[in-house]
Every structure is written in structure tokens, then in C-alpha cells.
Amino acid sequence: MRRQAAMVFLCLIANTLAYAETLSAPQTRFAAVDVYLDSGDKALAAWQFELADHDARIQVVGIESGEHPAFDEPPHYDRDAVAAGKADRVAVADFSLATAGELPKGQTRIATVHVRIEGDTPPDYHIALIAAGDTQGQPIPAKISISKR
């Protein structure tokens, strides 16, 4: 008898917990991650970076162009991964065939990644510069950084 009562009780608790879990589903919010590249005194003609969230709670919901006219079209990104909902990272790249005088130097915002975040904890972003190049296609040293909005 006690065993039966305990089983009923446990079942009810389990149902209650499941119900409570659905009600307290993680809240979602949106944020933008600005990606900056500082190429020093070199004209920046091509760049490629990877943005990752090690907690895998982000979803990319938009990829925005940079602030400089040379990069005013939305950059290229891994569409398959984004479409498949792989939430941990995204690879982005772009280049411009403009002349050196028409390209950015110094620090410039090269792209903004718009993300949807689950939960209240801030994502653990990691940014890695894969390549940056000048008008000759030669690698140039550059510093990459991000700013969250």
C-alpha cells in the first residue's frame, strides 16, 4: 500500500516538475556583436574571422555589413551551419577589389553578427582572426576585437 502511494506521489511530482520546466523555459534575447579589425597603416582588402560561443547558446539571426563603404555589402558566412542551427560558431569572410585609397586603414568595424541568446547568462564569445590581407593579397598583421551591444 505504501509502495503504491509512493509511486503515485512520485509520478505526480515528476509531472509537476516537467510542467514547471516548460513554464520556466529559458528566456531569449537578442544582441549584436560588432567585430573590429585594426590593420594599422595598411589598407585592408580581405579578412576572415570566426566567432564562437563556447556555451553554444547563440543562434545567428543576421550578418551585417561593415561601416566602411568598401565593405558595405553583407559578408559571406557558412550558410549551411547557420541554417542547420549549429549554435556554437560562425565563420565570416569578405574582400573588396577597391584600390588602396578606397579601403579602410586603422580600426574599422568589418561586420556585425546579430544573435539570439537563450538564457540570462552572457555568452562566452571567442573571436579568432583567420586571415587579413592587403590589395596584393599579402597577409598583414591585424588585431581583431569585438564589442557587444
Binding site: 576572415q48 559571406h76 550558410r79 586571415a131 593579397g137
Partner: protein, 136 residues
């Protein structure tokens, strides 16, 4: 010599009747006999269970460690595509946006290079499944 099958009708009638009377009857095992058999079985198999119990936890821990190693520490990676040497336009040993950039520049003077080819290379470059294979 062929085996002779003995049929029921070959048996003595008394025996047949005796066997039939036991048919369907619930076998009765005396309690003392039952206990004796259980004690004997316990004595024989208990040692094995103990020995199994002794090894069960370490085996489970080892299995868990293997699983953790395989699935957590070393995540499963999808099959990677390898870049062809043709993609390494600048011969740097890695395929990245600089190769797509150079290909696009070449296209200005060489119409045989199509925009489709440049776009396709860009698509491969940003594909995460190729991320580890930037080294050709």
C-alpha cells in the same frame, strides 16, 4: 541396429496409471528440501556475484571515462572535406579568404574565371567543416 522406440502402451499398466496420477498435480517440495537447495546455490554462486560486484564499479567507471573522453573531451567531428591544391591560389599552404581575393582579382583579366567559381571558393572557405583543413 535401429533404435526401437518404446511407446506408452509398452509400459506396465500400473506404471502408466501412476504416472498419469502425477500429471497436473502441483509438485510439492518440502520446505526443508527447498532451503537446502537455496543454501547450496547461495554458497556456489555467491562468490561469483561478489566477484562480479567487485569488478562492476571499476568497469563502469572505465566505460564512463571512455565515453567522456570520446564524446566530451574529443567531440565528434563530421567528415572533413579536403581542399584541393587548386584552391590554394597564393600557394601559402592554407586556403582562406586571400585565395578567393586573388582569384577574384585574376578574374578581372581572365574571363574564363567565372564569378560562380569565386563564390564557390568563398563558400568553401567559410564552411565550418573545412575549418580544420585550411592546411592543405
Amino acid at each position: 541396429m535401429p533404435e526401437e522406440k518404446q511407446t506408452l502402451s509398452d509400459l506396465p499398466p500400473a506404471l502408466i496409471q501412476g504416472l498419469r496420477s502425477h500429471d497436473g498435480a502441483t509438485p510439492m517440495v518440502p520446505r526443508s528440501v527447498d532451503k537446502a537447495i537455496l543454501d547450496r546455490a547461495e554458497a556456489h554462486f555467491g562468490s561469483r556475484r561478489t566477484s562480479r560486484r567487485r569488478w562492476a564499479l571499476p568497469a563502469a567507471a572505465a566505460a564512463a571515462a571512455v565515453l567522456v573522453t570520446v564524446f566530451v573531451v574529443q567531440p565528434f567531428e563530421p567528415a572533413r572535406q579536403t581542399h584541393s591544391i587548386a584552391d590554394d591560389i597564393d600557394g601559402s599552404g592554407s586556403v582562406d579568404v586571400l585565395d578567393a581575393f586573388l582569384l577574384a582579382r585574376q578574374r578581372v583579366d581572365d574571363p574564363s574565371i567565372t564569378q560562380a567559381r569565386v563564390d564557390a571558393l568563398l563558400g568553401r572557405i567559410v564552411s565550418l567543416s573545412n575549418e580544420e583543413d585550411h592546411q592543405t
